[in-house]
Symmetry: C2
Subunit: 130 residues, 2 copies
Amino acid sequence: MEPTELGISGDCKITGQILARIGDKWSVFVIGSLAHRTMRFNELKRRIGGVSQRMLTLTLRGLERDGLVRRTVYPTIPPRVDYDLTPLGRTLVIPLRGIADWAGAHIDEVIASRTAYDSEADAAGEKRAA
Amino acid sequence: MEPTELGISGDCKITGQILARIGDKWSVFVIGSLAHRTMRFNELKRRIGGVSQRMLTLTLRGLERDGLVRRTVYPTIPPRVDYDLTPLGRTLVIPLRGIADWAGAHIDEVIASRTAYDSEADAAGEKRAA
């Protein structure tokens, strides 16, 4: 594909995979939580809220695989497992904050637009049915 | 849920929907292309590359519903349909560029990390199998 004005070019498949990772809701919440400090699994789970055990496990594994999150196991009984951001993961905090700020600032406009769009679609449907 | 240090708080479901939209690969490519200028469907399709007719249609409809893209139909024969960014869509270009720049700058590190992670996982699997 051609480069776009957002500067995305080259390997579209990998770019897509990276966007899928960093645009994922749970990834954003995990990175947002770990931006503050190291956390254990259950702390993360409580802090994020609404995430299942399995989904949080998968999200953390994906972030670890991508080099964004580090998992440290301490050989205590029971074993203690800490999660924190790697240096690479830290570089993602500022661009992600830009997206999160945008979502926070414009959420009302997006919701209003959806409502208007759906009611127009409903009206068009009723017109066709009549 | 509690607010995180990325500033995400409040309605988790809606925030998730917004992240799903703006973190989607095709949405990013569409917004990146329209950041430059108004385009017709087939121009967008050629420019993005690798996107199916159906997927581009769905992506554009989602962006239109969210108030980010405007679709204008001119009553010519055949009808001409233009797509451009709304003022709201334009506000998303800079934060998205931050993410795209991050992906471009760090893609090699992410790929290297995945390769290392997968070969460790393979080695662990072989060890268990032996």
